[in-house]
């Protein structure tokens, strides 16, 4: 029997960074990991050409896309953790509205910080309830959060009799959506901040590795001593809190809290996350992919409007594109 010497093996275990990268590229899915970025480039190029005369590439339009993408991107980062943990959160749209209303209610008398914290706290609470019921009562999270969607939507509608609550606080609006640093909208900065935190949490924190482990193989994670119940609850708290932050960004940009903010975001968010390479059934997630997916969804939305499609046709086109894109990314995932 021929065996490599120990030192040879040890060095084989730690190849140069370039070799390591190429090896990982080949064995962790090859080009498939980058499909979402190619799609982004392709759609951007296509719209740039066919919508050139409609000002698609104008800086104000690009800024517009970024603004629209911000709440979707923030929710997508949170949803990526819920999916990675093997759960799903269908209540996020209603949490956006709840958060905007709580913020509007509190900001007036207690200032922008108290308003934002109260909104985040209320959202996190929804996540805790979602998580506890899912884990302790053992009801699948898609049912728990579907029920929660109804409950929170109802609360939001009753909050102020379907009327919007105004937010008259320049700092709140400035920090969370309407303002910016020089020419850079604060919404773009928030996309980067939330995306970076999400990426670090997934790849560089113990918690992120435990979320992935739990979603990939709960029994194996349990056998390794991971408290998978707590991990699942925390992932649902993160997704609800992220939705709450998206609500703050919408409330900041529009200077209102209202019961229907975020109402139609759910499908868009899930599409963004899944197109971005996160597995709908747990164990694989990409934060950069989710943010890029959100940018794609915002770009599609914007492009379809510029193309002059009626609202009804936009809905149809968006639905078709989402199904196609998700089908494509799921097929890629199965092959890898």
């Amino acid at each position: 029997m021929t065996r490599k010497s120990i030192s040879e093996q040890a060095s084989a275990g730690l190849p140069s960074p370039v070799e390591a990268w190429i090896d990982r590229y080949r064995h962790n899915g090859g080009l498939r990991q980058y499909v979402v970025y190619l799609a982004f480039a392709l759609i951007l190029a296509t719209f740039s050409i066919i919508l050139h005369d409609d000002g698609f590439l104008s800086s104000s339009n690009l800024l517009n896309i970024g603004r629209q993408a911000a709440p979707i991107a923030v929710m997508a980062v949170g949803m990526a953790f819920a999916l990675a943990a093997g759960e799903i959160d269908l209540s996020v749209g209603s949490v956006v509205a709840l958060s905007s209303l709580v913020a509007a209610e509190i900001v007036g008398n207690h200032g922008f910080l108290a308003g934002a914290l109260a909104a985040l706290g209320a959202s996190a609470l929804v996540g805790i309830v979602n998580g506890l019921i899912t884990v302790k009562v053992r009801i699948p999270s898609f049912l728990v959060t579907l029920g929660m969607l109804g409950i929170i939507s109802g609360i939001a509608r009753n909050w102020n009799d379907l009327q919007s609550l105004p937010i008259r606080n320049d700092r709140f609006s400035g920090i969370f959506g309407a303002g910016g640093l020089g020419p850079v909208s604060s919404l773009l900065i928030w996309i980067i901040v939330v995306g970076t935190i999400g990426h670090i949490a997934l790849h560089h924190l113990r918690w992120g590795r435990h979320v992935l482990s739990t979603g990939a193989d709960r029994d194996a994670a349990n056998a390794a001593g991971i408290n998978t119940a707590r991990v699942k609850i925390s992932a649902l708290v993160v997704s609800a809190t992220a939705a709450g932050f998206a609500g703050i960004l919408l409330a900041g940009r529009l200077s209102i809290g209202r019961h229907d903010l975020g109402e139609d975001y759910l499908l868009t968010v899930i599409a963004a996350v899944v197109i971005g390479g996160t597995n709908l059934f747990g164990g694989r997630a990409s934060i950069l992919g989710a943010v890029t997916g959100a940018l794609i969804m915002a770009m599609l939305n914007n492009g379809l409007i510029l193309m002059g499609l009626e609202v009804a046709d936009q809905l149809i086109a968006r639905g078709v594109i989402i199904i196609l894109a998700v089908a494509l990314s799921m097929r890629e995932a199965k092959e890898s």
Binding site: M1, R3, K4, I6, S7, Q9, A10, A12, G13, L14, P15, A20, D23, R24, H27, N28, H204, L205, R206, W207, R209, H210, L212, S213, A216, D217, D219, A220, A221, N222, A223, A224, G225, I226, G283, R284
Partner: protein
């Protein structure tokens, strides 16, 4: 090394609804000895391992580790008591890389107190220690940064075994660790078991291969339909004896 047995499980019973998976089974693991746990499919071997490693709570019975009784409430608790397990099916996490699997739930953190609180991973240190640990165990993996899901069945199994034996634990339970392995890799696992034994570790080995039992095991416990039907010193028996215990044709009482 204390003179008490590394582990004593006595009178263990466990039922799943109508199925009595274990009925009053006792087993003793000694430091520096390899104990075979034998039995046909469904005899209750994996269930016994899970009772010892904290995944199942037995309905009845007592477990003593180094002479002290413990109710092992979770796999974390078992680990703290020095018991490490390679389960038959529950093993590695596919999307994590080799080093992340080896250190799963035992991660090194960096950044001092704050880093430890938020769990900021020290990936470099984990990779380096992983490389030296695998080298020490003579386990060869092409790249530690590759996701385990992209490795061959044998390599995945090797990672699972490496994870169990890397920590200097005193009691190691191996539930069919070589089932997915080729000839050379199987030999490596057997070498590893001998190595552990020589270091004074108490090893429990579940296998269906009688040649391996005769090659590395000191004693054998045979289960038949949830009951212990034989307990023998391996040098005293033949392959045919073991087979007849397993099929229930014969027992030592």
């Amino acid at each position: 090394m204390s003179s008490a047995p590394a582990l004593v499980a006595s009178g263990i019973s466990k039922a799943f609804r109508a199925v009595q998976a274990l009925d009053d089974v006792s087993i003793e693991l000694q430091h520096g000895r390899v104990t075979a746990l034998l039995g046909d499919n469904g005899a209750g071997k994996s269930t016994l391992v899970k009772c010892i490693s904290g995944l199942y709570q037995p309905d009845a019975g007592h477990i003593f580790v180094q002479g002290t009784e413990h109710r092992i409430s979770s796999s974390r608790h078992a680990r703290e008591l020095g018991i490490e397990t390679v389960h038959q099916t529950l093993s590695v996490i596919d999307p994590l890389d080799v080093a992340e699997n080896l250190f799963l739930n035992r991660e090194h953190t960096r950044g001092g107190w704050l880093g430890a609180r938020i769990g900021l991973l020290d990936k470099r240190r984990m990779r380096q220690e992983c490389a030296s640990t695998l080298a020490r165990l003579d386990i060869r993996i092409p790249s530690l940064r590759r996701s385990v899901g992209s490795l061959s069945g044998g390599q995945r199994q090797a990672v699972a075994i490496g994870r169990a034996v890397a920590w200097g634990q005193q009691i190691v339970l191996l539930d069919e660790p070589a089932a997915a392995l080729g000839v050379e890799q199987t030999q490596r696992v057997l070498d590893l078991i001998i190595n552990l034994r020589d270091q004074g570790v108490a090893v429990l080995l579940i296998t269906h291969n009688m040649d391996r039992v005769l090659a590395v095991c000191d004693q054998a416990v045979v289960l038949y339909q949830g009951r212990k039907c034989a307990e023998v010193n391996v040098p005293d028996v033949t392959k045919d004896d073991l087979v007849s215990y397993i099929t229930g044709a014969r027992g030592t009482g």
